[in-house]
């Protein structure tokens, strides 16, 4: 950490290597409701696959006048620059999403999140904000031939591939909740979409998606930790 930084930064995953624990923030946002094991129908004929991703490292990056410096620093550590309006950029396990003209969310492996935060802070002398929000969000993924149909039931946003093309990311309303919706891979036939949702809304949205996807033979799983 730079010495002139007035920010106290804590490694929120310090026990990760020590215990490999499945405790605290590492547990699923659905754990209290015991949802994933009971969910889903058969894997054959599933038009929609709903996956709860394992807990991911997430950093909220904010910068205005120092956005260029932040972008350069990000490029050197993760190989991707800050993405442009309504777009995301991916490089392996790293993905940066545009949230606002001065805010982005970077996802990375949980083990690296503390190191990246420190490296970015060290690289930029001026005014920026970096917040570790890994514990506050869950990533759900919808894929399959009817994934788009499930989205259409849930959000007022136009999710046609011409409008929500590959790599596009939007903050919008989704079944009365707020989500960050990203088109990971889309073509005419099918799509894979990522929903970045607040952790406290995860169980609600999970139940919503189960019901919305039922008619397409939804299959739901949780990614192993």
């Amino acid at each position: 950490m730079s010495n002139d930084s007035m920010v106290a930064v804590m490694d929120q995953c310090a026990d990760l290597s020590a215990s490999g624990a499945d405790a605290g923030m590492l547990s699923s946002g659905l754990a209290h409701a015991q949802l994933p094991p009971a969910a889903g129908t058969s894997t054959t004929d599933s038009g929609v696959l709903l996956t709860e991703k394992a807990v991911t490292g997430l950093l909220m990056l904010r910068a205005t006048s120092n956005a260029d410096a932040l972008s350069t620093a990000l490029k050197s550590y993760c190989g991707i620059a800050l993405s442009s309006r309504l777009h995301s950029d991916t490089n392996g396990a790293y993905c940066v999403r545009w949230m606002s003209p001065d805010a982005w969310v970077l996802s990375c492996p949980l083990e690296e999140v503390f190191a990246i935060e420190g490296a970015l802070r060290d690289a930029i002398p001026g005014h920026i904000a970096i917040v570790n929000i890994s514990g506050g969000y869950t990533i759900l993924e919808l894929s399959g031939t009817h994934a788009r149909s499930v989205l259409m039931k849930s959000t007022g946003y136009d999710v046609h591939p011409d409008h929500l093309g590959q790599g596009k990311v939007v903050n919008t309303t989704f079944a009365k909740a707020q989500v960050t919706l990203r088109a990971v891979e889309v073509d005419e036939a099918q799509g894979r979409y990522e929903l970045l949702v607040r952790r406290s809304f995860t169980d609600y949205l999970w139940l919503w998606l189960q019901r919305a996807g039922a008619e397409y033979g939804l299959h739901a799983t949780s990614e192993p930790k």
């Binding site: 007022g156 946003y157 919008t172 309303t173």
Partner: protein
Amino acid sequence: MFLIHCPYCEEHREEEEFHAAGQAHLPRPLDPDSMTDEQWGDYLFYRKNTRGEYRELWVHAAGCGKYFNVSRNTQTYEIYATYKTGEVLESTSQMSVGPTGSVLNYRTADKEGS
């Protein structure tokens, strides 16, 4: 139901993503201590509340989270223009209004108080 053009996302979005935040262009007084009760009361509570073309502050709450200005007709509900805070809107009579009421020709060079 409004389709509102967010000047930061540069897309039309549904009304549900936004919140209205009252009359626009009300700069916070720089020196409240020197104001009379009347001036302070006027700043806090008294509003134009126009029936017709009205300038409002809206926030893209479920989207990018940014505040911006809307020129809207409170009688017909037509949206003439949306523009970023700090920008100045030309008179609405010269405005070029698109099919959803939000294509605009506003001036961005001049900065204003709020």
